[in-house]
Subunit: 296 residues, 2 copies
């Protein structure tokens, strides 16, 4: 156990490969949660939809069977893991809210196992091999923060990371860290030409949220190839934590299963916001049109 | 003259050192505008407050003498330069609107010399050696675009570059490129410890606007040390253009006077927005609180 104080909170990011069998993924994830906690992690973030393969590569109504209620069997196990480890856990689940209403949902458990609440992914992608609009009703929670034993945590999910509005609205509620469970990878046929630029853009956008808002940011992505052998998706891992000025404090590899543990200093957050006082200068009188689709 | 077509527009960025004498800076800038146009630039962007040293390092009422009306003597010269070169010019001026109301204002001239309009810097910084709130009344223009012979251009100014809202509101009006006249530098005493991270954050934020909005971005910064020999500011140049996925297409050096000419392909903009359709998925129903200062 690392030495902690009120000035710090320590993040743990669980980057894994997913197998076909949800039960196996859950067990391996629970094991990784315990390992992260033993290494000092106080706030542990799992990758998007960690319980299953990234099933959105195809549209198949039988795949809705993967969804679970919240609370449900998986949240029970996660709550127990939080209580056992004394760590906060942010987990991404495929939620069955009712027949015909499913969400891509993040659940936060406090260190005593209590469920703090949930956030339903607000921005839903839909692109070749990412057919999420088929599976996920867009969230109706709005953007949220959760008060936990180790700090005020904002959780957003994957595609949300491309939208500065999501980061801003979460940070304005006092989030000290934005957590992004993620499942993003390359189309293997594109990797040679576009791969570097795509991963760079992904990292850069999230670092920009840290800077614009003066918050820590953590992104947790899966690894491994999933889908057809001549296509599919190659998930690029590269989970990372950056500080409130966008400086990367730790990053996992592109291909390895890793538990990344990164201490974060609240004094750094205070210091960055004093020296780069963007929140002071926002022109809130002039932002009304951000609720428009297009301005002509 | 480079070969042009309707599929491209070519940016020209004029990065310079400023002298004490405004007349000399104006003449050297006009000469650089002609040079940029000869090299194929169609839309030329000048650095922030190109006519003078960065006077905001101290608060001195006599420095308001540097301001000019718009239109005024400098805009006349710039309009003539636009007409002579057939290039669009975006210029940053210290505007005297009336006694006691001064602005940090960008003016856009079309290729025939007509003034398209102006934008008054909306976000005003105020930090050690950047005492801008003393000089500049915050803009009341809102965020704007300008239709020119070579494309629809958005102009924002320096501190605006840290605010995703400004980029978004300009892009939503159809800007193909966001131009950022800039004056940013290091406190020499901080450069060794923080310099790299500061310049990296500055570049990164603007690249993030390109990605989030699918637009080209150009930032034009001055070079040189200004102010007291044992302090002052070391402007870091590094003017650059990036494409709608944040890829840097050209960048000037940290210390040299340079005219950077970069062709931009509209088909790239179309292509990026098809493949990364963020504008499709904005949750405009959930962004209302962006007009709040803080949410508790």
């Amino acid at each position: 156990m690392t030495n902690i104080s009120a000035n710090t909170f320590t993040l743990g990011l669980v980057q894994m490969r997913c197998e076909a069998e949800p039960a196996a993924n859950l067990e391996r994830t629970l094991s990784a949660i315990h390992r992260a906690a033993r290494n000092g992690a106080q706030i542990i973030c799992l990758q998007e939809l960690f319980r299953s393969s990234y099933f959105c590569q195809r549209q198949d109504p039988s795949l809705f069977d993967l969804a679970e209620t919240i609370p449900g069997p998986t949240t029970e196990r996660l709550a127990l893991a939080a209580r056992e480890t004394g760590a906060v856990i942010a987990a991404s689940l495929f939620e069955r809210r009712t027949a015909g209403v499913y969400h891509n949902t993040a659940v936060v458990f406090d260190a005593d196992g209590r469920m703090c609440g949930l956030y339903r992914k607000m921005h839903i992608p839909d692109d070749p091999l990412y057919f999420e609009k088929y599976y996920f009703t867009p969230g109706d929670t709005g953007f949220r923060v959760f008060d936990t034993r180790y700090g005020r945590v904002g959780v957003l999910v994957c595609w949300d990371q491309w939208f500065p509005e999501a980061a801003r609205l979460t940070a304005l509620q006092g989030a000290e860290v934005l957590l992004y469970p993620t499942a993003i990878g390359w189309h293997p046929s594109e990797k040679a030409e576009y791969g570097a630029a795509q991963r760079e853009a992904w990292t850069l956008m999230q670092r920009s949220h840290a800077i614009a808002n003066g918050v820590y940011v953590a992104a947790v992505n899966r690894i491994g190839h999933e889908g057809s052998a001549d296509g599919g998706l190659q998930f690029w891992g590269s989970s990372f934590v950056c500080d409130p000025f966008g400086v990367i404090l730790g990053q996992s590899s592109e291909e390895g299963e890793e538990v990344l543990v990164v201490p974060c200093d609240r004094r750094r957050l205070e210091d960055v916001r004093r020296n780069w006082p963007f929140l002071r200068d926002r022109r809130i009188d002039a932002y009304g049109d951000l609720t428009r689709r297009w301005i002509q």
